[in-house]
């Protein structure tokens, strides 16, 4: 079976004055049809840049190497015309802030219908009625009337529902959701995650969920990739990752999440130190300076992602399963 998205040996660097910053380093991953993959990492870990490269949305000073194939077709370095045959229709992206991803001067109906007019060649009349049906599917109340409203008239959660609807207009094969609920309140966040779950069932698309919040990804993802300093350090099923994290970074990060139960006013567990700065060259494992289990070998020799069944880990001394 051809994976929906297959990324091989992707590196992304940004040239900055006389330096070159490596944001993504030799990332390989495959997303199967209808699979939901969570991407977890701290800011600067490169999690967004991997998928910006897939969408052809990297900044102009970026240099990407490797290969990104969508349903078999190469996307990296493809020209705009080739990209636009899949981008926005079969391969879509949802961004963090629903206010900036909607045009403020166009009503909701126009923005939704436009997708079908551009990509499927529908008439505005037909596209408009499809837009109404889509609003209904993403559970926006009173959809006929909402089509004529503008983004500023909607609450943040409703705006994100519209954006999710927009990403689904052409029945995509893969939706990339980059921190889709980070700008929203926790009550709305839970409802949108639930909506994404329902939409996955209805549309059967593959879904990439990028987040710094493990809780958001946990309930939805079949598989979770953990990124640190531009590399994938661990990959496992959600259950497996939470029960038996094998990379010390994953294990330490799980300990850091403050809980709603347990002792109060005590010191919280932390990971000492800072993640490496972008461009900082480390010979061995990027996590070694902060790792409680690091040994000499970790500081000199970079661990590679090793496969072991369904999970993989990039560590010389992984925790036992």
């Amino acid at each position: 079976m051809t994976p929906t998205l297959s990324i091989e040996d992707l590196s992304v660097s940004f040239s900055q004055r006389d330096a070159s910053l490596e944001a993504v380093q030799r990332v390989s991953l495959a997303i199967a049809p209808a699979e939901c993959v969570g991407i977890i990492g701290e800011s600067g870990s490169g999690k967004t840049q991997v998928f910006m490269a897939a969408m052809g949305l990297l900044a102009s000073n970026a240099l990407a190497r490797g290969s990104i194939r969508f349903e078999g077709g190469e996307l990296l370095h493809a020209d705009a015309a080739a990209l636009n045959r899949v981008r926005g229709s079969k391969l879509t992206m949802i961004f963090q802030d629903p206010m900036t991803s909607l045009a403020p001067h166009l009503c909701i109906g126009t923005q939704l219908a436009e997708v079908l007019v551009c990509h499927s060649g529908l008439s505005w009349r037909d596209a408009w009625s499809s837009a109404g049906r889509m609003l209904e599917r993403v559970r926006v109340p009173d959809p006929k009337r909402r089509l004529h409203q503008y983004p500023h008239e909607l609450s943040g959660g409703m705006r994100q529902r519209v954006v999710i609807g927009m990403s689904l207009m052409c029945e995509p094969r893969l939706v990339i959701a980059d921190e889709p609920t980070t700008a929203l309140d926790v009550t709305i966040q839970a409802q949108l995650i639930e909506l994404l779950r329902i939409m996955r069932g209805e549309f059967g698309m593959a879904l990439v969920l990028i987040s710094h919040d493990l809780g958001v990804v946990a309930g939805l993802a079949d598989r979770i990739l953990v990124m640190y300093a531009g590399r994938i350090v661990e990959c496992a099923s959600a259950q497996e990752l939470f029960r038996h994290a094998r990379h010390p970074y994953t294990a330490e990060m799980l300990k850091c999440i403050p809980r709603l139960s347990g002792p109060r006013l005590a010191r919280l567990p932390t990971i000492a130190g800072q993640p490496p700065r972008p461009g900082e060259l480390l010979e061995g494992c990027a996590f070694a300076p902060r790792c409680p289990l690091a040994q000499d070998r970790c500081r000199t020799e970079r661990p590679l992602l090793s496969n072991a069944g369904d999970s993989s880990v990039a560590c010389h001394f992984p925790l036992p399963r």
């Binding site: 701290e42 800011s43 926006v140 109340p141 009173d142 909402r146 500023h152 008239e153 909607l154 609450s155 943040g156 959660g157 409703m158 309140d185 926790v186 009550t187 709305i188 966040q189 839970a190 409802q191 995650i193 639930e194 779950r197 710094h212 919040d213 493990l214 809780g215 958001v216 946990a218 309930g219 939805l220 959600a238 259950q239 939470f242 330490e252 990060m253 799980l254 850091c256 999440i257 403050p258 809980r259 709603l260 109060r264 006013l265 005590a266 010191r267 919280l268 567990p269 932390t270 990971i271 800072q274 993640p275 700065r277």
Partner: protein, 323 residues
């Protein structure tokens, strides 16, 4: 904890006719950490700024050692602000990019302890840098050379160098990564233990607020809707909004299979809350006729547990989770 350090009475703030803060009243005691939670736009930061008179309140009072901060003369306010410090959400934006970190931290000393000579000031700054987990050599560097977590330590050092009686923290960890959040929370806990500083800790992260607060205020649409000790609030919250807020926190460990996320609230379509009655009524599954006409007052339901809900005395059925 008998003597209130800060007594806020009926504080209201209007932005162009829109009530950003309505009738907020509470006390903050010496050495206490008061958590303040609520969604974005609920007025948390407005409350912090109104207390410090960084923006103008429509009415109400903020009593601090017998003085009303909102009406006292400017020189009096300036002198009082020595004991009232704030740490902002965006650690980099709250530091002057053209000042060295040492100058930034020394600035409050220059203003409030002008008698101090340069050398003594440097020693105080060096000691403070070490206190927040940085090194004295970093004083000569500029904010852009630091990470977000380090910048937040610098912001905390600037706020704490005068040993204030009250530290207001406005979402101090929200922009930081998970592995760094705990470092900053621990630093605040240590500083408070050593200096006895009272804190108003604003955050939308309920777990962090629960962890370090002695009491928690819950805010919705510019009003306080519930006040309780963390254990009471997290075990037996009364206001439907608080209940929904707690139910929505994503589980930090996935349950067997894919448990459905609770969707306990009616989601609002329009950007603005209803103009009359309880501001929460259009999202509340328990709303009744009286909620449309009358703003529910904050009333004590159990000792120390205050709720603003018309149905706070009824045993409401638990929030159901519709599909």
């Amino acid at each position: 904890m008998n003597d209130a350090l800060l007594r806020v009475r009926n504080l209201s703030v209007d932005f162009g006719g829109h009530a950003a803060l309505s009738d907020v009243s509470f006390e903050l005691y010496a050495g206490e950490t008061l958590g303040l939670v609520g969604e974005s736009g609920s007025g948390k930061s407005t409350l912090a700024r109104a207390i410090l008179r960084l923006l103008r309140a429509a009415h109400g009072s903020v009593e601090w050692f017998g003085q009303d901060l909102l009406t006292c003369a400017a020189p009096v306010l300036r002198a009082l602000r020595r004991d009232l410090q704030i740490v902002f959400q965006d650690p980099l934006a709250s530091l002057n990019p053209r000042m060295t970190v040492g100058d930034t931290i020394a600035e409050p000393l220059r203003i409030f302890e002008p008698g101090l000579n340069g050398h003594a000031r440097q020693l105080r700054v060096a000691a403070m840098l070490e206190r927040v987990g940085l090194t004295p050599a970093m004083a000569a560097r500029y904010p852009h050379e630091f990470s977000g977590g380090q910048c937040q330590r610098i912001g905390i050092a600037r706020a704490m160098i005068l040993s204030p009686k009250l530290l207001i923290c406005d979402e101090p960890v929200s922009s930081l990564d998970m592995s760094i959040q705990g470092q900053i929370v621990n630093l605040l806990l240590d500083l408070q233990r050593d200096a006895g500083t009272a804190m108003l800790f604003i955050s939308h992260n309920l777990a962090v607020v629960r962890h370090l607060s002695h009491r928690v205020l819950v805010m919705y649409s510019g009003r306080l809707v519930e006040i309780a000790a963390p254990d009471a609030l997290f075990a037996s919250s009364v206001h439907p909004y608080t209940k929904a807020l707690l139910a929505a926190v994503p589980a930090s460990v996935p349950a067997a299979g894919h448990a459905a996320a609770p969707a306990a609230l009616v989601e609002r379509f329009a950007a603005a809350p209803p103009a009359s009655g309880c501001a929460f009524r259009d999202r509340c599954p328990y709303a009744v006729a009286v909620c449309e006409t009358t703003v529910p007052p904050l009333a004590e339901v159990v000792a120390g547990h205050w709720v603003a809900c018309h149905r706070s005395h009824e045993a409401l059925i638990p929030l159901s989770f519709p599909p």
